[in-house]
């Protein structure tokens, strides 16, 4: 099972879903906070769901307030960068470029892709964390406090 966990994690990096920032977070796990990364990931998905909802509402209004959309996406990109969500971060960057260009169609197209990447990452990380918990502490980077 530990090998399975390691393979899942490796595939997340190989497929570009995660970058080295995720490993930085794993380095912060210790005996006092053995599930730190999962806790941060949970915070991220809760926060990003709120931002997705805000952006959807803003897009549904029809009149594109590119400043407001850019602000939302700035927050989204910040969180995604902090957790190492590489593909999501890339879509955020693209969305912001479309905002600056005033390209509504580009924003809509990119937002659709962003939601897809976000959902895929969420599913994969949930699977990873579930298996990691079952496998026990060996597969989680830990430092003695």
């Amino acid at each position: 099972m530990q090998r399975q966990v390691a393979l899942i994690k490796q595939s997340l990096f190989d497929q570009g879903y995660l970058d080295e920032q995720f490993m930085e977070l794993e380095e912060l796990q210790d005996d006092a906070n053995p599930n730190f990364v999962e806790e941060v990931a949970t915070l991220y998905f809760k926060d990003s769901a709120r931002l997705i909802n805000n952006i959807e509402q803003a897009l549904e209004r029809g009149s594109f307030d590119f400043n407001r959309l850019d602000n939302y996406m700035h927050q989204f990109k910040g969180s995604s960068t902090s957790i190492g969500a590489s593909k999501v971060k890339t879509e955020c960057t693209m969305f912001r470029e479309y905002c600056r260009a005033g390209n509504a169609e580009g924003c809509l197209r990119t937002f659709k892709q962003l939601k897809k990447e976000h959902a895929t990452l969420r599913k994969k990380l949930e699977q990873y964390f579930q298996l990691a918990r079952q496998a026990g502490p060996k597969e989680i980077a830990r430092r003695p406090k």
Binding site: E24, L25, N33, D47, K77, G78, T81, S82, R143
Partner: protein, 171 residues
């Protein structure tokens, strides 16, 4: 004891002999501290009794920055925006280091930094933001920062801040 230190230093010098810069005895130890930090050894500054304030509106970043400081043994509080940072100082609290985000609601990092300096707060303030355009960084620095790092914050970036602000003393 002196011979032992010389032996250890000589041995380590062999490892870093490709380094062209001549280091004094004291600088060697600081360099080695940084080297170990970069190699994964995390310094523990608990004995220094440093305190820090995390100012960021993003819950993910709050959690990470709090943990980073915790890992280095630095007791820290967290607030959600510049106004809360000002308020906590008005209540009499003081910190050695403030990690200040730029974009925050109610009062952003630039406004908060200016306000804290106007209040006479002499804490070291390090700006931590995703914004890295030269003009934006310049404006933030001119507000009263002592240092700046681009997010995402990592252990090595935080150690760099501590070193730049003279908090990182040799063992």
């Amino acid at each position: 004891m002196i011979l032992f230190l010389c032996y250890i230093t000589t041995g380590l010098l062999l490892l870093i002999r490709d380094c062209n810069e001549f280091l004094s005895f004291c600088h060697k130890h600081i360099f080695l501290e940084v080297f170990f930090a970069m190699a994964g050894e995390v310094p523990n500054l608990a004995e220094s009794k440093l305190t820090a304030l995390v100012v960021d509106d993003n819950f993910v970043n709050q959690s990470i920055h709090h943990k980073l400081l915790d890992r280095l043994g630095i007791k820290n509080d967290v607030v959600c925006n510049g106004q809360e940072a000002v308020d906590v100082h008005c209540s009499g609290r003081n910190y050695d280091l403030i990690l200040m985000d730029m974009d925050m609601p109610i009062m952003n990092g630039i406004q908060a930094t200016k306000r804290l300096r106007e209040m006479g707060i002499e804490s070291k303030i390090a700006g931590v933001t995703t914004r890295a355009e030269e003009e934006e960084v310049k404006e933030f620095m001119e507000a009263g920062l002592n240092d700046f790092q681009e997010k995402p914050l990592t252990i090595s970036k935080l150690v760099s801040i501590l070193r730049n602000l003279d908090f990182y003393v040799q063992a």
